[in-house]
Symmetry: C2
Subunit: 363 residues, 2 copies
């Protein structure tokens, strides 16, 4: 069974132009104090005047927008097929009137890139979530005409008020009807104040290592608490970074629900879908957790038939540009090898079999 | 081997008086719209005018301050000995000038309670962290004279600027010298905005289930990043709630450190203690994670000789007051039973053997 990467990003050329034209986050720029380094600034505050040039966003090169570099990366790492997706922050920042056309153009561009690499590339589309809900629904409906599309990637802000917003119901309905999986991915992290006064000394570690997975965990828990899966029992979500922290915290979340006086009084607690049930019936997890410990927890929470290999390429590149095999990828490969020591079938399923079956890929 | 509870709280009578005399968080009060329910308000915003009475803080009764109820709880749940600790927010809110005397009085009170129940009660002391550092150090030094003291409980704010504050060094030094373990416990959670506009509908679930463990995870990671364990290699920390989310996120934290351009340029990355090494050499974890999945991850991260049973009593009581055995406790017992199915020695170690050895308890 070939290896399939379900968590791998691109900023297609049209999106790059969009970022280059901007002067507020998100944007791409060469700063005067480091003119040779083109920087991608996507997280709030990454460009504050006090930020050292070495932790100002991240260097960006053709690995972000040149699809031949994606293919080369796949070849080096033994990846047969990739399900590419636009990276954060998608189109969240666009004005409502610009968003539908941009989404349609981007999705067509991704469809075209994939069609040029048959059996090697598929994609998760982007919805114009800042637009009125009818426009979002229309683009979701149009995705059925794009043969390489296998779902949509989505951040945690939804239409601007989070994924527990009842106004999302028509979108969930459209996605459920078309059996389009939602790839749920963080972007906004946590407010900078939670990292304390010394955060500038720690580079991107705290927001990326902790802020990202917590944003995801909160978003999914809000979906659960608001009854999204009670209303849309067929809605399927692939959660980035092995669920954020959901496999580890599921027990605590379930216990807090069972012990909440307010939810009990409102009659909500007993009606609510169990976190464990949602993890096993509605959720898929990628295997981007960088440890055997985390991966095992993900497998125990969701099942070895629901976990799918990913790389997060082109993020987390080797700091020494000369390395060809990426440490971040090797770490995730090693975790799969260790977690499934003696169960080659399960390892193959996680590396590619699950993705091929769940996403109906011809590889 | 008897069962030992290392995560169990009290608000001794003197602390209760302190809370009853206050009118801002933290405080204890009967509200006019629910005069029969004495409420404990300890989390910021729990008393906002828009908060429904059923999610305004939590009911508080003698289980919080009457030590005979602690003993009765222990008897019902088969707990031989408990290492009691003042619950959050400890003395964080006191004026610098009031803090040292309050800490001394509280620690003496806890010593006295424990002495009245030999072999059944030990305690983690409280430091006057809002006072000048010399006063904190003096109280830490005095703890050696209290024979039932086995460490100190501490929140994540330290002297007000977090646990990565270099001004804490004299405290870490004192604790390391006296081999007093730090029981690290959350209180402040995350800023309310991260839970979105519908948070009021979800009772306490989001701040307790997610905010608490993330606060802990961020605090420990900041300690690591700032080099606390490089300077104080003997400093031992018992992390509440099975490490917050540290066992699950350790791989991602390690990977983010290894891939951070700023840390590399500063020469920090290669000097930093590995998260995994700290988990196995400096960290202990309680078994308060409410699931087999979480507990297994904790065991794999820190080792089965470093995990200790806990209840979080008197928090998470049964909502139906008639239950005698607490669901929250049964859930954690069941997780231990499932995680160590077939390894009775490890189960016994986690239930009590580890605590007896690590904390030198005579039970």
């Amino acid at each position: 069974m070939p290896t399939i990467d379900v968590h791998t990003h691109v900023y297609p050329p049209s999106y790059m132009s969009l970022l280059r034209d901007r002067t507020t986050v998100p944007y791409v720029r060469n700063f005067p104090d480091a003119p040779d380094s083109t920087r991608l600034i996507i997280l709030p505050g990454e460009d504050s005047p006090s930020t050292p040039s070495t932790s100002r966003g991240r260097p960006i090169g053709p690995e972000y927008f040149d699809i031949s570099q994606k293919i080369a990366f796949m070849d080096v790492h033994g990846i047969a097929a990739s399900v590419i997706s636009l990276a954060n922050p998608w189109l969240d920042f666009l004005a409502p009137e610009d968003s539908p056309a941009a989404a349609a153009a981007l999705n067509d561009e991704l469809q075209s890139l994939c069609a040029q690499h048959p059996k090697r590339l598929y994609f998760f589309a982007t919805l114009p979530l800042s637009a009125p809900v009818d426009a979002v629904r229309a683009e979701a409906a149009r995705l059925g005409t794009l043969p390489m599309c296998r779902g949509v990637i989505m951040g945690t802000s939804g239409l601007g008020r989070g994924l527990d917003d009842a106004a999302l119901d028509p979108i969930w309905q459209a996605l459920e009807e078309q059996r389009l999986l939602v790839f749920l991915h963080p972007h906004y992290g946590l407010p900078g104040e939670v990292y304390g006064p010394r955060k500038g000394e720690y580079g991107h570690v705290l927001p990326l290592a902790i802020g990202f997975p917590i944003e995801t965990t909160i978003a999914v828990t809000r979906m659960l608490l608001s009854g999204v899966w009670e209303r849309w029992a067929g809605l399927e979500v692939l959660i980035a970074h092995s669920g954020g922290t959901l496999p580890f915290l599921a027990g605590r979340i379930e216990s807090c629900i069972a012990h909440d006086g307010h939810l009990k009084k409102e009659g909500r607690a007993e009606k609510m879908r169990s976190v464990w049930e949602v993890l096993k019936k509605n959720v898929y997890l990628d295997a981007v957790v960088y440890s055997e410990v985390g991966l095992r927890a993900a497998v125990e929470a969701s099942g070895k038939d629901r976990i799918m290999f990913g790389t997060d390429h082109p993020f987390f590149p080797p700091l020494d540009g000369e390395e060809t095999e990426w440490l971040s990828v090797k770490t995730n490969y090693a975790a799969i090898k260790q977690a499934f020591d003696g169960d080659a079938d399960a390892a193959e399923a996680v590396l590619g079999g699950n993705a091929a079956r769940i996403l109906k890929l011809d590889v």
